[in-house]
């Protein structure tokens, strides 16, 4: 009996979500009185995972798994779960995590709960809290199968150090051939992506036009943040579609979300509710965003943002 965690990596390096799922796995293992086994694919140095509580790390090195492929990765996770006699499998709820986990669930005949926001509230029955209704509520879900799969929502459990002296072991699974083949990957390089970002600077129609995004980019740059926008902004072609945040766009679960010239329509808020701290800058004191925000400035973005950039630069330099 063990808790198997899939610690995802890019170019050999663990993502922050990998450390979060290991931290989560450690917590579940404590609750169940079992141990944590982390599965890695083509990761360079796995010792980092011991710091977050992985007692055993199984490493798979295989060139055919260099880039993510849902079906092949799912076969590796399933086989590892069987080999380790895992009763709980923990993955992240990233774009790739959500692609892979349902396939694993079928092959293990396991109940799967995605977008889980907290450690199990009970292990018998096994109950987890998940996001529901586009972040407007939570559902407490009981998983009743022998094997349980948990997809942890980003930034919901957090990264917790819990050093153990772990060991690693190589693992050579049979890899399922995938029916889909990657032909081309296009990435915006040199920028923080919304999914990875701890801070997101987002702007809406209040910015009046694409020519005014210079100051938004500069603010993001100062903060090491990703840039985002409201839906009309991407619909108007002022910003790329990939920056559109909200119910029909990307979800954001950052530590800090700064909304500039965004009204705070319910569909926009649905995408950012999971962010920890929200700041709004808007000329209209009645804008609904002020009800959802933690901090607010009633003011004109064209005056406030340049001042904010200047002050933040000074703050960072001090």
């Amino acid at each position: 009996m063990s808790v198997l965690v899939f610690a995802d990596s890019t170019d050999g390096k663990f993502k922050k979500t990998a450390l979060e799922v290991v931290s989560y796995g450690k917590k579940v293992a404590e609750q169940l009185g079992s141990n944590v086994v982390a599965l890695t694919i083509n990761a360079a140095d796995v010792s980092e995972l011991y710091k977050y509580g992985a007692e055993k790390v199984i490493t798979v090195s295989n060139d055919s798994l260099k880039t993510f492929n849902a079906k092949s990765y799912a076969s590796v996770v399933s086989e590892a779960a069987k080999a380790e006699n895992a009763t709980v499998v923990v993955v992240d709820s990233s774009i790739d995590g959500l692609y892979l986990a349902p396939i694993v669930a079928v092959s293990l005949d396991a109940g799967y709960a995605s977008n889980v926001v907290a450690a199990p509230s009970s292990t018998a029955p096994f109950t987890v809290k998940r996001k529901a209704f586009s972040n407007k509520a939570f559902s407490n879900t009981v998983i009743s199968t022998d094997v349980k799969i948990i997809g942890v929502a980003k930034n919901s459990f957090g990264v917790h150090e819990n050093e153990v002296s772990g060991t690693s072991e190589e693992f050579s699974p049979t890899i399922a051939a995938s029916g889909v083949k990657s032909e081309k990957v296009e990435k915006v390089t040199g920028q923080v992506t919304i999914a990875d970002a701890d801070i997101v600077v987002s702007a809406g129609r209040g910015l009046k036009g694409p020519e005014n995004w210079g100051m938004i980019e500069e603010l993001a740059d100062v903060l090491g943040a990703a840039t985002a926008c409201s839906k009309p902004v991407s619909d108007l072609g002022w910003r790329p579609h990939g920056e559109h945040v909200g119910q029909t766009g990307k979800p954001v679960a950052s530590n800090l979300y700064i909304a500039i010239g965004i009204s705070g329509a319910i569909q926009h808020l649905a995408g950012i509710n999971a962010s920890k701290v929200k700041v709004v800058i808007n000329t209209d004191p009645e804008a609904p965003f002020f009800k959802a925000a933690d901090y607010g400035i009633v003011g004109d973005a064209f005056e406030v943002v340049p001042k904010l950039i200047e002050k933040l630069k000074a703050f960072k330099a001090s």
């Binding site: 990233s94 396939i103 879900t141």
Partner: protein, 248 residues
């Protein structure tokens, strides 16, 4: 090409979310139900295939009779026929199993669904359905072409997109981008009239096995009031973000 589009019946995006029966049931009082927005993008792409390349489009819902107006709306948009699998859709795995039975019986080449439903947000049905039927699968699809047996699908990835090639049969979980929002259709009078006459078949569920059950719902704890900072006092905002919220 035989296309099946999976349609989830969900509360409209602006619905107030409340619960009844000791927070165990969603309160449908005064709530309008619609085609799940992600499914609507996929349905629209299916209509494009039908009109431009020739295809039949069947829509399917796993749910009780209250979902029928939503299926009729899909028919009014242009789907040829509809199937409702008569059971309470309490769990993603259960829904996927019922859909798999429909797929196996119907001999479909292309199954279109949405990335997730906006009520339970599981994001699991399309992937499970693909595995249960042994179809290929692309999740989070923002572009789709089918040429004979060959499929080219683009999916969203963190910070970009990935284009994948595959062959039919395939399950595609779509989202905005598979068609643009401006392409979405509002059913016209003629469509609505015709939809009344189109076949809506009700089939019984094959099992009642669920892997998960929802014990209760809860709403986020009410948030404290916003702290307003004067526009002339940006230092105060930085101070709050640094010392109080500890996010910079």
């Amino acid at each position: 090409m035989k296309i099946l589009v999976c349609i989830s019946h969900v509360p409209d995006t602006t619905s107030k979310i409340n619960f009844t029966d000791n927070d165990t049931k969603f309160d449908t009082n005064g709530v309008q139900f619609v085609i799940n927005p992600y499914d609507e993008f996929s349905l629209t792409r299916a209509m494009w295939f039908k009109e431009k390349q020739g295809a039949t489009v069947t829509v399917v819902n796993v749910g009780n009779a209250t979902a029928e107006p939503t299926l009729r709306k899909a028919l009014a948009i242009g789907a040829d026929d509809a199937i409702r699998v008569n059971t309470e859709p309490t769990d993603g795995f259960l829904v996927a199993k019922e859909l798999a039975a429909v797929v196996k019986n119907g001999g479909y080449d292309l199954v279109l669904a949405g990335r997730e439903s906006i009520d339970y947000n599981g994001g699991m049905v399309p992937g499970m359905l693909a595995s249960l039927t042994d179809f290929n699968f692309v999740n989070g699809c923002v572009g789709l072409e089918v040429d004979g047996e060959n499929v080219s699908a683009t999916r969203e990835i963190d910070g970009g997109s990935e284009t994948l090639s595959s062959s039919l049969p395939i399950v595609i979980a779509g989202q905005k981008g598979i068609v643009e929002e401006s392409d979405l259709r509002i059913p016209n009078m003629r469509g609505i009239m015709m939809a009344r006459k189109k076949p809506l078949q009700v089939v019984e569920a094959t099992s009642t096995d669920a892997n998960t059950t929802i014990q209760s719902f809860e709403k986020p704890a009410p948030k404290g009031a916003v702290k307003l900072v004067d526009a002339d006092n940006i230092d105060e905002l930085i101070n709050l973000l640094h010392n109080e919220a500890k996010v910079i």
